[in-house]
């Protein structure tokens, strides 16, 4: 009798289950441990704020956000993505901080027709020969900040420049990007060891060269080491410091403090960028996370979720129609915290870039201040190689 009752209940419920839609699934491969842990934590906070504001929905439809830590490890990320595609059957992918991870997981996602919205890395390969309809570089192309910094140096009349980066592929790309924007030949090009701790030898060379400014691309701890030592050598009095946005963002400011004051840095976004969506975002972020200001990684992650939300809305929730989804994503029809932007043929943004400078505010807080626009609409140089 009980069996019969259960069967009846089950029979009554079945149509209801069939009616309830399977949620839209977003796979988020976070960097919560490993080399980019600090940046990954910032991105996670951006994702979570957007998810919370959307009430766990995308385009008004129930959604599921599967967040997993892959520790900045390309192999681990590749396994995770296979699981996301085959077991979880995700509809969208985002999360990694490093270009090496993006390059490792991209092909599998493209083959499975899962749109990959990049919340940070914009490797040149995906902008050029390996461009793909299922890739969206929501944030920037990797060269953008460096090229903008080169233009800043040229515009400000820094005639004698020393440029410095670690001796590895991304370091060389960064300095080449800078030179493309700077247009003149820098006075001196210095390559240092990856993970270098002591910069005394390089600082002595800089003192001897007496440049107007120095451009550094030193991600993570290296940049912190360098800036602290640069200031203790007293070089900040005669030499201006220029870097890409990530070298002087909120996370770095919290770790370095005073010595960063006066550093010029470039990005597609700033926390004091004047637009309604950004004001709303910064305010909500500070309320959610202990009055902390967001760094660029949080802003990009927030934008990524909002971009997905808009695309789902535009397709009426029919995410299985991938052609419609990528057509909707391509329109970039959402209010971005950086202001409106368009995608180029290679699905990388054509957008303004800004220069910010680290300052001590009236309240004694050290933070970035937006001081000008470098490019009105910047597009990467690789777009010509993208044939599709």
């Amino acid at each position: 009798m009980r069996l019969f009752k259960n069967l009846v209940v089950a029979a009554l419920l079945l149509p209801a289950i069939a009616l309830a839609q399977t949620p839209i699934k977003v796979g988020i491969a976070n960097d919560l441990s490993g080399p980019f842990a600090a940046l990954g934590a910032e991105a996670r906070d951006g994702f979570n704020l957007a998810i919370k504001q959307l009430g766990n929905k995308l385009g008004g439809q129930p959604a599921e956000f599967i967040q997993t830590d892959m520790g900045g490890n390309p192999d681990q990320a590749r396994q995770l993505v296979t699981r996301y595609i085959q077991r979880d059957k995700i509809d969208f992918f985002t999360g990694p901080i490093g270009s090496n991870v993006a390059l490792a997981v991209g092909p599998a996602l493209f083959a499975a027709k899962v749109p990959y919205l990049s919340n940070n890395p914009g490797p040149s390969q995906f902008a050029g020969a390996q461009c793909n309809d299922y890739w969206f570089g929501v944030s920037y192309q990797n060269d953008a900040f460096h090229e903008a910094a080169g233009k800043v140096a040229a515009d400000r009349g820094f005639k004698k420049m020393v440029i410095l980066a670690p001796d590895y592929p991304a370091g060389k790309d960064a300095l080449n990007g800078f030179k493309r924007g700077y247009k003149l030949a820098p006075n001196q090009e210095v390559y240092t060891k990856l993970g270098q701790i002591d910069y005394a030898a390089e600082l002595a060379q800089i003192r001897d060269a007496k440049p107007d400014a120095i451009y550094i691309f030193l991600p993570g701890g290296m940049g912190i080491n360098f800036v602290k030592q640069f200031v203790s050598a007293g070089l900040n009095k005669s030499v201006k410091l220029v870097g890409p946005g990530f070298s002087a963002d909120e996370d770095v400011i919290q770790a370095v403090g005073e010595p960063l004051i006066g550093m010029f840095n470039t990005a597609q976004w700033a926390h004091d960028l004047d637009n309604a969506q950004n004001k709303k975002f910064v305010e909500a972020f500070r309320k959610e996370y202990n009055n902390r200001y967001p760094a660029v990684y949080a802003a990009q992650a927030y934008d990524t979720i909002m971009a997905i939300d808009a695309a789902v809305k535009a397709t009426g929730g029919k995410v299985a129609d991938r052609e419609a989804v990528i057509a909707a994503l391509k329109k970039a029809d959402f209010s971005s915290v950086r202001g409106p932007f368009k995608y180029g043929v290679n699905n990388f943004p054509i957008q303004p870039l800004y220069v910010r400078v680290v300052e001590k505010g009236a309240d004694g807080r050290i933070t970035n201040k937006l001081v000008g626009k470098v490019f009105d609409s910047y597009q990467d140089v690789y777009v010509g190689e993208c044939k599709k």
């Binding site: 600090a38 005394a200 030898a201 002595a204 050598a233």
Partner: protein, 306 residues
């Protein structure tokens, strides 16, 4: 290249060498006496830096920061000795490396749990924040002079401790023949505990001193530990004098490589070749040094035993 630049680079080499010596001293002391390769020495260095930074943020006093780092890290070292190292001493080197490697993994995550994944701030004492003029037109960062002074003081202090004090005699006796020392009435467990804590305090001192000029973040210990291992392998593992000479050699060779090699190569090769080969060659210069030393002196320059 002017004379002052060359002088400055030589001073930089000395400074970098002494910076490495501060960490190498504790590592080699522990190895020399306990015969245990404590790869978690870098974690003690990290602990010192974090405690110093935290104290500095709260009190604003650099002296308090260094003292607090030494005390807290010394206590951490004590706990580590009682719980783990004591049991590893009788095991082989592989077990010791694995055991202390586990400590690295745990330490990095504990640090992330307490302070978060982002690097934290440690201000420089304001009196030492800028450069001082050693000669007219020869500026040198005051803080780096402090590192040189402390490095030399630690070297001298350890030398006097090992050669002139009763505790030093016991340490040497324990190192050269543990069994004989025990038979002669040396209380080896207490001696070992003291030495391990001293090693931890030295690591903390290094961490607190380097905090204001480096990034304080989880994993900072392993980065520098590789260089420190090169120093003590060159000098002879377990030998204090070896660590001192090894660290200075590494400091000078590494700095000279970075400072002079690219310029030197430009005299013989095209600028393109020089600028691509120079940094690579400079980066591996200390490993070449290590290889050369090991070919001629397989046990290092000053072997600790035999």
């Amino acid at each position: 290249m002017s004379g002052t630049l060359i002088a400055e680079q030589l001073l930089n080499g000395l400074q970098f060498g002494l910076m490495l010596f501060l960490i190498a001293a504790g590592l080699t002391l522990v190895f020399g006496i306990l015969d245990i390769l404590n790869v978690a020495h870098g974690s003690l260095y990290m602990a010192g830096a974090y405690v110093a930074a935290q104290t500095m943020q709260v009190t604003g006093s650099f002296v308090a920061a260094v003292l607090m780092a030494a005390v807290i890290t010394g206590l951490v070292g004590l706990v580590l000795e009682l719980l783990l190292v004591r049991k590893l001493v009788v095991r082989d080197h592989l077990a010791q490396v694995l055991g202390t490697f586990a400590v690295i993994l745990i330490a990095n995550d504990v640090v992330k749990m307490i302070w978060g994944p982002a690097p934290i701030m440690m201000n420089m004492p304001s009196s030492l924040a800028g450069p001082v003029s050693l000669l007219p037109d020869f500026l040198y960062p005051a803080y780096r002079l402090l590192i040189i002074a402390v490095g030399l003081a630690v070297a001298l202090g350890l030398y006097l401790f090992v050669t002139r004090t009763r505790a030093g005699v016991l340490v040497r006796a324990g190192a050269s023949n543990r069994q004989m020392a025990t038979l002669m009435g040396v209380r080896v467990p207490v001696l070992f505990m003291g030495v391990f804590v001293l090693g931890a305090v030295l690591a903390a001192l290094a961490g607190a001193l380097l905090g204001p000029i480096t990034a304080i973040q989880a994993g900072m210990g392993e980065q520098i530990l590789i260089l420190v291992l090169v120093c003590i392998v060159i000098g002879g593992i377990g030998s204090m004098r070896g660590a001192f000479v090894g660290a200075l050699l590494v400091g000078f060779v590494d700095t000279a490589g970075r400072a002079f090699l690219p310029t030197l190569l430009k005299l013989f090769f095209s600028p393109a070749v020089a600028s691509s080969v120079g940094p690579t060659l400079a980066a591996i210069s200390i490993y070449i040094l290590m290889a050369v030393v090991l070919v001629f002196r397989p046990a290092g320059l000053f072997p600790a035993r035999g």
